[in-house]
């Protein structure tokens, strides 16, 4: 009963808000290019369904590819750095600088470097940059978060550096890395959308391009439809990553 209510509550709120919105549009007669009614947005979504889904797939594929690249690069770098304190000291400020720099600020330059004919490469590179930090930071924290008593135990039994790394530090890092990947997944989507906006060419056919295109043509209902598809896609990706994180952790800890 309680569960059903918990699921129904947000749906009911959305329904009420949509009803108010619809009523307001009809009563005030506000022009559709200014604020389309929910029914107009729904119609736009159905009409442009295949196009929007195709674009969503492009954006998702870009984000996933970026996530995979970022995962590989960030994990490897964290692994190399975690074995050497001085190296970590050297790299940390650079990594932080990379993280706090807004992706829009560097996007135009990256687009130029990639070549205007290869906007897709620039978009992937920018999404990688955004997704890099949470994974890197999680892996590094994880590799250094070993239980000090377990570390003493490994020392006591004469474990080699390699044994400590593979049998203690890497497994200790897994929960942190899973968390890092979950955050990075969401950021990769944001990164690829922002990058696509900046690249702003038809060479890329993602959701951001649909938003730009329809907005320029004052097809506001279509813009809304694209934004909604984007939100649903982001939430879906987050849900998948969260579920897999939980499932892996459960297997890992046995509970």
């Amino acid at each position: 009963m309680n569960r059903a209510l918990n699921t129904l509550a947000p749906l009911a709120l959305i329904a009420v808000l949509l009803a108010i919105w619809e009523a307001a549009c009809r009563l005030t007669g506000v022009p559709a290019y200014f604020l389309p009614s929910p029914s107009a947005v729904a119609a736009a979504m159905i009409e442009n369904g295949p196009l929007l889904l195709g674009s969503a797939w492009n954006t998702l594929a870009t984000a996933l590819l970026a996530l995979a690249c970022a995962s590989l690069m960030a994990s490897c770098l964290a692994l190399i750095i975690a074995t050497n304190r001085l190296l970590e000291q050297a790299v940390r400020p650079l990594a932080v600088a990379l993280q706090v720099t807004p992706v829009v600020a560097i996007a135009p330059q990256v687009v130029i470097w990639a070549g205007l004919a290869h906007a897709d490469r620039a978009i992937i590179a920018l999404a990688v940059i955004v997704a890099f930090f949470p994974i890197f930071s999680g892996a590094l924290t994880g590799l250094k978060s070993t239980d000090p008593d377990l570390e003493r135990l490994f020392d006591l039994y004469g474990a080699s550096r390699w044994q400590k790394l593979t049998r203690l530090r890497l497994p200790s890092a897994i929960p942190f890395m899973l968390e890092g990947h979950k955050v990075a997944g969401g950021l990769a989507v944001i990164g690829s959308v922002v990058a696509e906006f900046v690249a702003g060419s038809g060479g890329s056919q993602g959701l951001a391009w649909r938003i730009l295109e329809s907005s320029n043509r004052l097809q506001t209902a279509k813009t809304f439809a694209a934004v909604i598809v984007l939100a649903i896609m982001g939430a879906g990706l987050h849900a998948v990553l969260e579920t897999s994180e939980r499932a892996i952790l459960k297997r890992f800890r046995g509970r």
Partner: protein
Amino acid sequence: MTLVARLAAAEVVYGAGRQALGPFDLDLAPGEIVALVGPSGCGKSTALRLLAGLEEPTRGTVTRTAGRGETSVVFQSPTLMPWADAVSNVALPLELSGIDRAEARAKAQIALEQVGLAASSHVKPAQLSGGMAMRVSLARALVTRPRLLLLDEPFAALDEITRRTLADDVHRLWDQTRPAVVFVTHNVEEAAFVAQRIIVMSPGPGRLVGETVMAAPLPRPAGFRTSEPFRFAAEAISRDLAASMRAAA
């Protein structure tokens, strides 16, 4: 008779001149059970780390005849790898020393049987109760058949009934291979029950205040906690402990 370990005028000073231990002397004969008792911050865990070879003394000498792989430590928390099941945790010391996996796991299974956890060998630490996890930790410490077993307040986080059962278990397991045992605790009755020789230490820096010898059979007979020698020893230790607190005040 050669000693298993000896601390001679050992002192440990941490950064900023904070003296944690000493000068402190301790001779440890093979097969004897010694308890170090004292208030928190008296350097008993520091003494234990010296005996384990995990730390070096600032001054004085530490002599250890138990080599690598012949010393085991049980910490206050079970200190198990959360991602590994019980048998893998117990097999760890053997695997680290290069014994092949199958043999290490077979020996670990036997060690788990000895602590009464044969059925839980494929259970992960999160699914074990506190007492069971501590038993796994004991099995891991004993799987290498150590000559020196160091117990750092191993029962501090457990309830009274579990502590008593585990104290009996420690004696039963000790009886199989007779390692020298150093048992750190701040519980007077536990010290009197577990050890043959109880050393009371004063806080900051840790020094010897008094020593009580408990000449009763091991493992302890039933009803030992109500016997005359036990009460007498507990009183003596309490007096030493009170003196150590006064010295610190």
